[in-house]
Amino acid sequence: MPFQRNCRVIEVNQIANGLFSLVFDCSDIAGSTKAGQFVHISCGDGLLLRRPISVCDLDGSLVRIIFQVKGSGTSWLSERKQGEVIDVLGPLGKGFALDGSRLLLVGGGIGVPPLLMAARQASEQGKKVNALLGFADADKVILLPEFASACDWVEVSTENGSLGKHGYVTDLLISRLEANQNICDLILSCGPQAMLSRVAHIAKEHHMPCQVSLEQRMGCGIGACLVCSCGIKSPGGEGKSFARVCADGPVFSSREVIWDET
């Protein structure tokens, strides 16, 4: 059950190059959000569409989101000041199903934040949680202390080798799974499309259940307008259909996604 609320901004900080953290106060949304769900935020009168942003963390009635400034909407959002009010719709979508007992989180770039909430909720449930986090550059690295506190271990890679292992987070995933096939019984992943497609492939090769959180340009955000579709295999069959990323997702089983149709 989503809410539309005018929410007070508690703080906005730039936490890395082009990446902002915004905390707002809303007990209705904070009280009902699950890991992997998102909020849809109105970014000023000049823009017609809200901006969908995954929830990163909750603290009482406070909701934390992290976003990358990409255009006029996220730029507007990054300029909010403490005490201002933003119009938020949420929580929306279907989040992660924390089914396993040993979770491996695989995050890339701006896909890292929603995994923090999954890490916290899973570790509160007594599950073992570890994380592999990939970034383009050391100046884009976010949330390491938070993941460290929620996980047994965290391994980091950067594409240019400026921090952690030199390479992609999918390289870390392959070496971990090849070293120990029992390192996890469920993979949760969020990141760029190419990375997710690769993670899905690796998970399949290792017969590992895997959930991925997809991104797509959205309209209404609640499942009515059908613009944010992704290709999904029909249950049990050869056929395909389009699912709504906003309402049927954003989290899908990696095996149901048709990767060249998303």
Binding site: P2, R50, C220, C225, S229, C230, K240
Partner: protein, 304 residues
Amino acid sequence: MKPDLAVTFAGLEFKNPVTVASGTFGFGREYSNFFDLSQLGGICVKGLTLKAREGNPPPRIAETPMGILNSVGLQNPGVDEFIKTELPFLRRFNTRVIANISGNTVEEYSLMAEKLSDAAVDMLEVNISCPNIRAGGLAFGTNPKSASSVTKAVKAVSKVPVMVKLSPNVTDICEIALACEDAGADALSLINTILGMRIDIEAGRPVLKNITGGLSGPAIFPVALRMVWQVCKAVKIPVMGMGGISGAEDAIEMFFAGARLISVGTACFKDPYAPLKIRQGIEEYLSRKNKASLNDIRGKLITD
């Protein structure tokens, strides 16, 4: 005294003039989480086709200055599935249910009209104006002869009033409107989206996978208003005005231009409560102007 918002349209009573536009409101389920759908005058459901359609590949949306482009391409479960699973849900609310239909052929239009009027929807909205599918749709809506033959075919079998949804992507919308009226249409709705496109200059590719899409939102409102005004002067049948209505002021402009009902679409994406706020704003305007009902402003544009 509280103004009377009720409207008679194509022989049907509408409790208020605010409907929601086809393609923006699904089959109502999602928005029913926000408000009681019985507060709406009517619901134009997501465009239906005879068989289920997947729609176009994504991305299907692009934002433009005060507008959006979409290329959904009539994704829907098909008319039979709608009657079986969606219509019973909509019937739980005290509001008019208007079924929007698109066919590849004239025969498909009449088959759907038969099924839906047997299923007792309140009205049919014949979509001859979808810009996002190749066959049918817009192909019927840009030519007076084919618009007329679709209208006649649907009228021949329908047991409920028939409204034809017109495209703005024509040289003379009045010519099509008159053809539909002559063919027996009970009402007209306009406008559907305006065909447009955007290009991602970094990638050198269109933003929409379908290359072109339909423009909606406040950017198209002046065009919609002009066309509603022209069509209302040209025909005698009632008109549902739509296209970029985002506030009560826009709706009231539509009434002055001659519309009897209005439809809210893209505005719901920003504010799910937009149709209720617009209804409220219309009521407040009538009160402030001491008007007893919409009859006192409809078509009352002063042009001298």
